[in-house]
């Protein structure tokens, strides 16, 4: 047993090491964004998080995926209680430690509940695989859904199905061994699902059953360890980040564009003769965003929270009518660029901060940005409180104010507003003409 314990502890520590290293890297990437204060009104934030992350309120706008997603979500959270026992058994070299604490009656009831959830998770994962690969639901495809994002989504569903299968096969073999009163396999209560699966393993002798039980146990927990590290590279990170992303949400109307106080100050200095410049005000760095580090840290957190479900893109009027813009791509590009820049900075020991590339142009094109109607359908659709619109606006700001790269019609419109006070070429003196026209 001691060898198994040592192997287990080494794997556990390795997982903790790689996972925390990855999280530290992601945290650093997120915090490389511009400062934005989003911790006011804590009570309201907890409530919002309870409703939108824990309660998944936005998911229920589309009821079919919401129900199946809820099955996986509930399964994931509740079955994780079982992981506590597996961890303790692994470290202490015990077998089903909680039986002696709870007694077979209560223990069996818990395991039965986990088994029902495990079965529901398998059903939901198979339904989701079918939605992707049999029904070919449109939002799972699209220009940004290249090989890796599609593989990622498929792998997650397969891994979850396999993990649950190991869990059930482990319990089934265990139940049979309990019936035989074999070795240390003590009576652990009635397991609802695996009890009815016993027939499948009726061929096996005790030795084979012990192998199946042990294999299921190890495969399940090693699978969980591997999956923990995997998700930090995957869109599946939303299972953690949906929570902080909801907590740090911007409490503003989705149609309200963030102010640029540095521009307001400059305009005031220009137009208001009585204006006294504030000596302490920070000098403007760069107007708008060219790269991820010019975005608010919240926008980068948004990007890491994105689960690529495509609800945003499926409601985007530009995308629906065949334009290049896809709000999901904006988020995926932001995350990919943040990872790329993070690796570059790490490789150079934190000394070089610029790799000659940028989010704007290298990842996101002007054509995409120019197609946005700022209708906020993407913001409204997102189940994990992401705003692709904020990124679009920041990039547009850089294009307009730093590069002067706007469509020619917009340049004309700017000129009209500046000269005539209206976006069209009409004279201010004609503003009331409607009054006297029949």
């Amino acid at each position: 047993m001691i060898v198994q314990q040592i192997v287990f502890i080494v794997l556990l520590l390795a997982t903790a090491f790689f996972f925390s290293k990855r999280i530290a890297f992601i945290r650093k990437n997120i915090l490389s964004g511009r400062a934005e204060k989003l911790n006011d009104q804590p009570a309201r934030r907890w409530k919002y998080m309870a409703l939108y992350a824990l309660g998944q309120k936005k998911m229920f706008k589309r009821i079919v995926p919401a129900v199946f997603h809820f099955m996986i979500y509930a399964g994931f959270i509740i079955i994780n209680l079982e992981i506590a026992e597996i961890m303790l058994d692994g470290i202490l070299g015990t077998h089903r430690l909680f039986v002696s604490l709870l007694g077979p009656g209560i223990y069996g009831t818990f395991i039965s509940l986990f088994e029902v959830l495990a079965l529901l998770v398998i059903v939901a994962c198979l339904v989701f695989l079918a939605r992707r690969w049999v029904l070919h639901i449109r939002r799972f495809f699209g220009r940004e859904m290249t090989r890796w994002p599609k593989l990622d989504a498929t792998l997650i569903l397969i891994i979850e199905t396999v993990l649950m299968t190991f869990f059930l096969s482990m319990n089934t073999a265990d139940s049979l061994l309990q019936d035989m009163a074999y070795g240390h396999y003590r009576e652990a209560g009635f397991f609802l699902i695996s009890d009815s699966l016993k027939g499948i393993l009726s061929f096996a002798d005790a030795g084979t059953l012990v192998f199946i039980e042990r294999f299921g146990w190890w495969a399940h927990i090693v699978g969980v360890f591997a999956f923990t590290i995997y998700i930090t590279y995957s869109k599946h990170l939303h299972i953690f980040l949906a929570f902080p992303n909801a907590w740090y949400t911007r409490f503003k109307s989705s149609g309200k564009i963030s102010n640029m106080p540095e521009v307001a100050r400059e305009v005031k200095a220009m137009m208001d003769p009585s204006y006294q410049p504030d000596e302490n005000a920070p000098a403007p760095e760069r107007f708008g965003a060219k790269d991820v580090t010019d975005l608010s840290w919240k926008s980068i957190l948004d990007a890491y929270s994105c689960t690529e479900c495509g609800r945003c893109t499926s409601e985007c009027p530009a995308n629906l009518t065949g334009k290049l813009l896809s709000p999901r791509k904006i988020m995926m590009d932001t995350r990919d660029r943040s990872e790329e820049l993070g690796y570059f900075i790490r490789k150079n020991g934190g000394e070089k901060k610029e790799d000659g590339k940028s989010l704007l142009h290298d990842y996101i094109s002007m054509e995409e940005l120019n197609a946005c109607t700022t209708c906020q359908a993407c913001v409204e659709a997102c189940p994990v409180s992401i705003s692709p619109l904020d990124i679009i606006i920041e990039l547009r700001r850089y294009l307009a104010m730093e590069e002067s790269k706007v469509p020619q019609e917009w340049a004309l419109m700017f000129g009209n507003i500046e000269n005539n006070g209206a976006p069209w070429q009409f004279s201010p003196s004609d503003r009331l003409n409607w009054k006297d026209e029949a």
């Binding site: 564009i257 530009a318 197609a371 104010m401 006070g421 503003r431 009331l432």
Partner: protein, 265 residues
């Protein structure tokens, strides 16, 4: 329609007379210059006149709120416009503003406050509803639109941005009309295609124009009238209906126009 002269005063005239008004009517650039939107402006003024609301407009002193500039990325230009407009409001001591344009509405209500401009801002649909609720505007029973199918297109900056879904619908019910919803309505409403400064440029390359997609959906309700509450949605939907050659069968009207028409103003 009666051809009574519109009673409109400017804030400058009101101030010169040493008077004050209940509300400033912010006409907006579309409402001032766009021929189609001017009809909305006139319809709304007729209703204000009928209800005896004391109001004024800014006339030559009104300028663009800066909405299209800001959304196209030109924050400098936006800040300049906002600065000027806030100064004008301050000069006249403006406290309450009504506008028929959801873009101006959103700017004045949500985006001027951070720059020191705080006002009570109402969209004309909400204002009209309050006039009716307060008994200042009485609608005739069994008007012209009784029993007619009317669908309502939600403007993004009225709906999603400001959560105003009910006031315009309530007005349609007050007309005794049958309100029919499009599948994509309220918070899931599809944009007309004009927002975010798209009004001033050609669509980016694609399969279809957004206004065609939306107009097809609206026509699909078999409504006799497509109601809107935004001058830009009005342009987009009117063009879409024309593109589908349905302009003789299906009317696109602003809610103010529907009320003015029902009241034979």
């Amino acid at each position: 329609m009666s051809q009574e002269a519109l009673k409109v005063r400017t804030m400058a005239e009101v101030a010169a007379a040493g008077e004050s008004v209940e509300v400033l009517f912010w006409v907006g650039c579309a409402g001032s210059f766009d021929q189609r939107a001017q009809k909305i402006t006139k319809a709304f003024v007729k209703i204000l006149n009928r209800a005896g609301v004391s109001f004024a407009v800014l006339g030559e002193e009104e300028t663009c709120t800066g909405d299209p500039a800001r959304r196209a990325g030109n924050e400098f230009l936006f800040q300049m416009m906002a600065f000027q407009n806030i100064q004008t409001f301050e000069a006249y001591g403006i406290k309450k503003i009504v506008t028929a344009c959801p873009h101006c509405f959103n700017m004045l209500k949500n985006e001027y406050s951070e720059l020191g401009g705080n006002y009570e801002v109402l969209h004309h649909t909400a204002f009209l509803q309050s006039l009716i609720d307060e008994g200042r505007l009485k609608l005739k029973e069994g008007g012209k639109f009784k029993g007619k199918r009317i669908t309502f297109h939600d403007s993004c900056y009225l709906g999603r941005a400001n959560g105003i879904y009910e006031a315009p619908r309530e007005l349609i019910r007050k007309l005794d009309a049958e309100l029919v919803e499009m599948k994509r309505c309220k918070s899931s409403g599809l944009c007309c295609g004009a927002g975010g400064a798209q009004m001033w440029k050609e669509d980016e390359p694609g399969d279809k124009r957004i206004n065609i997609e939306r107009s097809e959906e609206a026509l699909g309700t078999r409504a006799a009238v497509i109601a809107s509450a935004c001058p830009f949605c009005m342009t987009m939907l009117s063009d879409g209906v024309k593109n589908k050659e349905k302009e003789d069968e299906v009317a696109v009207r602003d809610l103010a126009e529907l009320i003015a028409e029902a009241e034979e103003l």
